[in-house]
């Protein structure tokens, strides 16, 4: 069992409330996943690449790592730290920075990369993780969060969701994949770099790979229906978009609610119940093997 929530705002007036509403949703899913939690927030940024990093030991010398990066990549880096996380903003190619860190900084996990996305994770009570990383105060256009009850791999901060391997793309997963080892090998031959043993990271990398090959999000999800084997309810975020996909058997729960102001998705309705205007929402369960997606470029359901 895990808990998933996602909130995609259509009404810009609600953007200052994104973090607060996401925290309310996450709170309701605490008992579905009490061992660890994480969230991705699409809060905007500037033209620079933004990387969120995790120190596995909690003792990484961030300033030293930054100096090394500046020397190696000859680019400006701005560093901000928050608990065991650090955020780097740089005019360098974010993918090159990610590659360098994975290859050279074994104590560091790259949680996200992009212009817009920031991912934060922690082990323990999901409410505390949200508090530690100031979720309720964060603003933005859409957010995805997860509470984990680990079944497939170890309870670690790096093994918490959301998983993000491609720029501004992330995924949370309730379920388990059965062919992730084969897929991981296949994706590695295409240059994808993995940082955990987690099956959900493979799903995130799969989508990132398809989109790097030119697929739209919906095309990538169509391919995923063909290539991913196992149980899943996914919530997926991209720079401007949000999607939900369930496997063809659809054992893992999901409910979607939509108003003129927002689209919300959660494992259970109680996570949607605190949202403003929910009494007038269109509420439904996503059908198996059907892609549901929204984007800020094209408002409304684009699937």
């Amino acid at each position: 069992m895990c808990g998933i929530v996602g909130l995609f705002l259509k009404n810009k007036a609600l953007e200052p409330e994104l973090g607060r509403l996401t925290a309310l949703m996450l709170h309701e899913m605490c008992d579905r996943g009490p061992d660890s939690a994480g969230f991705a927030i699409y809060g905007g940024g500037d033209d620079r690449a933004k990387l969120v990093l995790l120190s596995k030991s909690g003792e990484t010398d961030w300033a030293a790592m930054k100096d090394q990066l500046v020397a190696e990549l000859s680019a400006e880096m701005e560093l901000e730290t928050l608990h065991d996380h650090a955020i780097i903003r740089t005019s360098a190619d974010g993918r090159a920075v990610r590659r360098w860190i994975i290859d050279n900084a074994p104590d560091v996990t790259v949680l996200s990369l992009g212009k817009n996305i920031e991912v934060f994770k922690g082990v323990g009570d999901p409410d505390r993780v949200a508090k530690d990383f100031g979720l309720a105060e964060r603003t933005g256009t859409h957010a995805i969060a997860h509470t984990r009850m680990a079944t497939e791999s170890a309870i670690t901060t790096a093994g918490s969701h959301p998983f993000s391997t491609g720029a501004d793309t992330c995924l949370v997963h309730n379920g388990s994949l059965s062919n992730h080892n084969n897929l991981r090998e296949m994706l590695m031959t295409h240059g994808e770099q993995f940082q955990t043993e987690n099956d959900s990271e493979v799903a995130a990398a799969y989508l990132a790979w398809r989109m790097s090959e030119g697929d739209t999000l919906n095309q990538a999800l169509e391919s995923a229906l063909r290539d991913l084997d196992g149980f899943y309810t996914f919530a997926i975020g991209t720079e401007n978009g949000f999607a939900v996909l369930r496997d063809p058997v659809a054992c893992k729960p999901a409910v979607i609610a939509e108003t003129d102001d927002w689209v919300a998705m959660a494992s259970e309705f109680r996570a949607i119940a605190p949202l403003p205007g929910v009494e007038n929402a269109k509420i439904y369960e996503p059908e198996p093997a059907k892609i549901y997606s929204w984007s800020h470029a094209v408002k409304g359901q684009a699937a």
Binding site: P253, E268, F269, R270, A271, A273, Y284, P288
Partner: protein
């Protein structure tokens, strides 16, 4: 909270706990109760076995009114997975939509869902009667053995897969029929049963619009043609 309650009592989940509320309901022999601030909590009004009348003034989580016997439970909102699972008798009514596996393995009683039910509604049904005002999701009435499922809207993929003897009545479209499920003739006894079910559920629908589905009875015994 006291274990003995006066009739017409209001129980507040937010002010006590699901366990306290369920314990109080279970201790009652009769009477009406309102449950406030349900907030989608799990296992509300479970395991009741007296003719009490319970109204949940909000949304219910997993396994609401599970194993119900004699009691009448109304949810004035949506209900999540496993509503009225293994119900034995009594009535369970949901004003909104319900999640998957509603009425799973239910042996008796009447389950009324005024909105839609999602996947696997009436899975392994063992004698209860289910009336859905809206549509049902995929694999509904999977391996249903006895009882009836009435769907006033549409049915999803693989309706009645591997069905035994339950009767399925669908007014709208059926996305596909599951293995060994076929459309069957609507005879007078079926029209009477359907009219009775719609009447007891308070649904206004023309019985002439419904089709009946049931078992082709080709999976009862081993046949080499059924092997892959």
């Amino acid at each position: 909270m006291s274990d003995t309650l006066l009739r017409n009592t209001t129980l507040d989940v937010a002010a006590s706990s699901v366990r306290d509320v369920n314990r109080a309901l279970k201790a009652a022999d009769d009477g009406s109760f309102q449950v406030l601030n349900s907030g989608g909590a799990h296992a509300l009004a479970c395991g009741l076995d007296a003719p009490v009348d319970v109204t949940i003034k909000g949304h219910a989580g997993y396994y609401c009114a599970g194993m119900n016997k004699h009691a009448s439970v109304t949810v004035e909102g949506n209900a999540s997975t496993g509503l009225a699972e293994n119900m034995m008798s009594g009535t369970v009514r949901v004003k909104g939509n319900v999640s998957q596996s509603a009425g799973a393995t239910a042996h008796g009683g009447l389950l009324v869902i005024e909105g839609d039910a999602s996947a696997r509604c009436g899975i392994s049904l063992k004698g209860a009667e289910i009336v859905v005002g809206g549509s049902v999701g995929h694999m509904s009435a999977f391996m249903a053995q006895a009882g009836a499922l009435v769907v006033c809207g549409d049915a999803g993929e693989a309706l009645g897969d591997s069905i035994y003897e339950a009767r399925l009545y669908v007014r709208g479209s059926v996305a596909s029929l599951g293995a060994d499920c076929i459309e069957k003739e609507m005879r007078d006894e079926h029209r009477e049963q359907l009219a009775d079910l719609l009447s007891r559920a308070g649904m206004d629908a023309n019985i002439a619009d419904f089709k009946r589905y049931g078992s082709a009875r080709q999976l009862y015994n081993f046949k080499i043609d059924n092997a892959y």
